[in-house]
Subunit: 425 residues, 2 copies
């Protein structure tokens, strides 16, 4: 059971905006047991879209999912192009037109705008549906369309699911779309696949590969597990897909991994380090004291709704004066050890605990580069500090690879893991 | 003159890592006057890669650029698959093998590792080149390959440029790759295209569309301009591609846009707001005082190498206590007006100026959601403050659309623009 994904939009094709929809749809399909064979990205030219549909149909996929090109204007041509590709004439769905019209009228009333000829034309256009296809109710104003597969006749066609481009609208109609009869029928034969994710921190890919090689002969049915590993910001993600029948093999693998790497594995249920930090911070308070990460730890902690329950605040102390003035790091300490040093990192964290009156604080002071490195403290040298309400503090130093952005991002992840480990009972 | 881009890698196809290479290569090609027709993304299966190459060749592109799959291990199959597709047997390039071997030996010496049979096999594999193709010297260990087009015979083939997956390696060999004879020959016939970008802030897409409609009849040759507009984080980006001969039409368009929207256009030469803020901050100092943006403004300012010249520090004052304790915002002011209010935002910025001793500070206090909204201050209400060393401060309130992430990101961009406007002479 395989699917193809077609992403339309000149902005995506020309690299001006990053596509979120292809990866999102791919992950959903995979989790459902549908393999993704190809993602294609094209502009707004109908002949390019037709060529991509033809290509995917010819490779024998069971389902094509398209994203984008469903707006009310003349250059939004996906439904029309799909209809022509499937040789299904468009017809006006009256109920759908009324429904979209009501949504638009409500918006216009809220903004005090008058109904116009051009919005009426747009509504009419968005309510056109290929014959035999099913409209999927809009989340914004653009309905999705599910076109049934053609399995008889000389030339079969896969089912085509046409979804809007704005990620919020696409994701909002996903459940309805995937259970629409034409789509459900096309993927009815999919296997009962499962996907599990194990995450580790501080584990090298080569050590993991060695472990996998060593346990392989011991696990019956390991051949049914599709294991992919991915290194990301210092974390290793081990994603395994398998048919339901291979659950014992997966369980054996997970046990072996836990046994070999219990110190490094922090999640076996898909939870991210951000999930775990948020959970362990419930009922406590945290602050940050950042130099080289420049606010990225605070931004990451507050990214989450409800974070105001535990994030009290933070300081970005980029200059030495700021480290002394806002975090009470003694100037002599900086003079003696340098700003990038374990004593200063510990003092920064301790200062944040006192200033914000929190249970725990984490700090960074490092050389993100490209300038500022010395033989003793090369670019990538980052000192991390942790401090607690009882006055204890600790620090450690890491040497992180990569350019400025990589060092800053990796440091932020390290700080999250330090917080998490420190908060373990 | 059209090109196709093939991105390989299971992690990209399955959405576990975001592809950077497709957009990057697309932008480079477009800037050179080569249209991009399709980007395809596939996994590590050779038959899927072959299908994508076949598809692109059949659509008649002049050049295919592939990224990824050039590593030393057995599942890196791009060169082999391309060679088979072009019916060009692989041969060992001795000089290349020596060159890669030297790179690897240097790495191994640095890490104190011994040379192994598996690295020798990997080096051998990476030094295999399709007959008649040109190797492009590696930036990491993987060389690129440029395969000439086949223009005679029954079935022509486009030139194929095979590049490595790590963005740093790909970008590092781009200039050499694009001037390699097989590639240069394939795109020799490209037009002399130009691309210009105008950026505006606070301009709606519909106002811009109205302006474009109104000026169209007045500009001779406007039909030669390919104008795309893109709304991003509150900014509108107007990108225009045109043949060199249409320069007068572009100049006339740029003049009209500047005349109609001089208050909103902040860049006509491609500079981003980050570039402009960094330039205007030279010789001055800045601090931040963030609530709803939670460190994102500080992180964005310090993203840039050399930012320590002007960024002194910042405070993330998520709680009211932090606003009072670290930024000296009077508790009575918060009681009277609420934390999300113009007086508090102004006081936060003024506190940051005093605490950090800087020339200018910017502040945010808002309701990013999803909770916390009230009828009077709905989700999306964000107050911004600016303060200066002479003691003056000002504030304004905006109502921003979207979810938590959108409100936070948009607020960060607004703060950058406020800084930029405040620093204008």
């Amino acid at each position: 059971m395989r699917a193809g994904i077609v992403v339309t939009g000149t902005e995506v094709l020309t690299g001006r905006i990053t596509d979120e929809n292809g990866p999102w749809v791919a992950q959903r399909l995979l989790a459902m047991g549908v393999d993704v064979a190809h993602i294609t990205i094209g502009g707004d030219r109908p002949e390019d879209l037709t060529a991509q549909l033809r290509f995917l149909a010819d490779t024998g996929v069971d389902l094509i999912v398209t994203t984008g090109g469903l707006g009310p204007t003349a250059d939004d041509l996906t439904v029309e192009t799909v209809a022509r590709f499937c040789e299904r004439p468009l017809y006006l769905d009256d109920d759908l037109e009324r429904h979209i019209g009501q949504i638009i009228s409500r918006w216009q009333r809220q903004r005090g705008e008058a109904e116009s000829e051009s919005t009426r034309a747009g509504t009419h256009k968005q309510a056109m549906v290929p014959g035999g296809a099913l409209a999927i109710p809009p989340v914004g104003t653009a309905p999705g369309v599910a076109v049934p597969a053609v399995t008889d006749g000389e030339r079969g066609l896969p089912a085509i699911l046409v979804l809007p481009g704005p990620p919020r609208e696409l994701q909002g109609m996903w459940d309805a779309a995937i259970s629409a009869a034409p789509v459900a029928a096309a993927i009815a034969g999919r296997g009962d696949f499962r996907e599990q994710t194990i995450r580790a921190f501080g584990l090298s890919e080569s050590d993991l590969a060695a472990t996998l090689r060593s346990v392989e002969p011991r696990i019956a049915g390991i051949g049914d597990l599709e294991i992919t590993t991915c290194l990301r910001r210092g974390e290793v993600e081990i994603v395994t897909r398998y048919p339901a029948g291979a659950q014992p093999a997966y369980d054996a693998l997970a046990d072996e991994l836990r046994e070999h790497h219990h110190g490094e594995i922090f999640s076996v249920d898909g939870a991210t380090i951000d999930d775990l930090v948020a959970a362990t911070l419930q009922g406590r308070t945290v602050a940050t004291a950042e130099s080289c990460t420049g606010g990225m730890i605070a931004a990451r902690l507050t990214d989450r709704a409800g974070s105001s329950d535990y994030v009290v605040g933070g300081v970005v102390s980029y200059s030495n004066a700021a480290k002394s003035g806002t975090l009470d790091v003694p100037a002599e300490l900086i003079d003696e050890h340098g700003a990038v040093s374990e004593p200063v990192a510990a003092a920064m964290a301790a200062g944040a605990v006192r200033r914000f009156g929190v249970d725990i604080a984490v700090s960074t002071s490092g050389i993100a580069g490209p300038g500022g490195g010395t033989p003793g403290k090369p670019v990538g040298t980052v000192c991390f500090g942790l401090a607690f309400a009882d006055g204890t503090a600790l620090a450690r130093t890491l040497y992180l690879p990569g350019d400025r952005a990589a060092v800053r991002e990796r440091s932020t992840t390290v700080a999250m893991h330090m917080l998490h480990r420190a908060l373990q009972p």
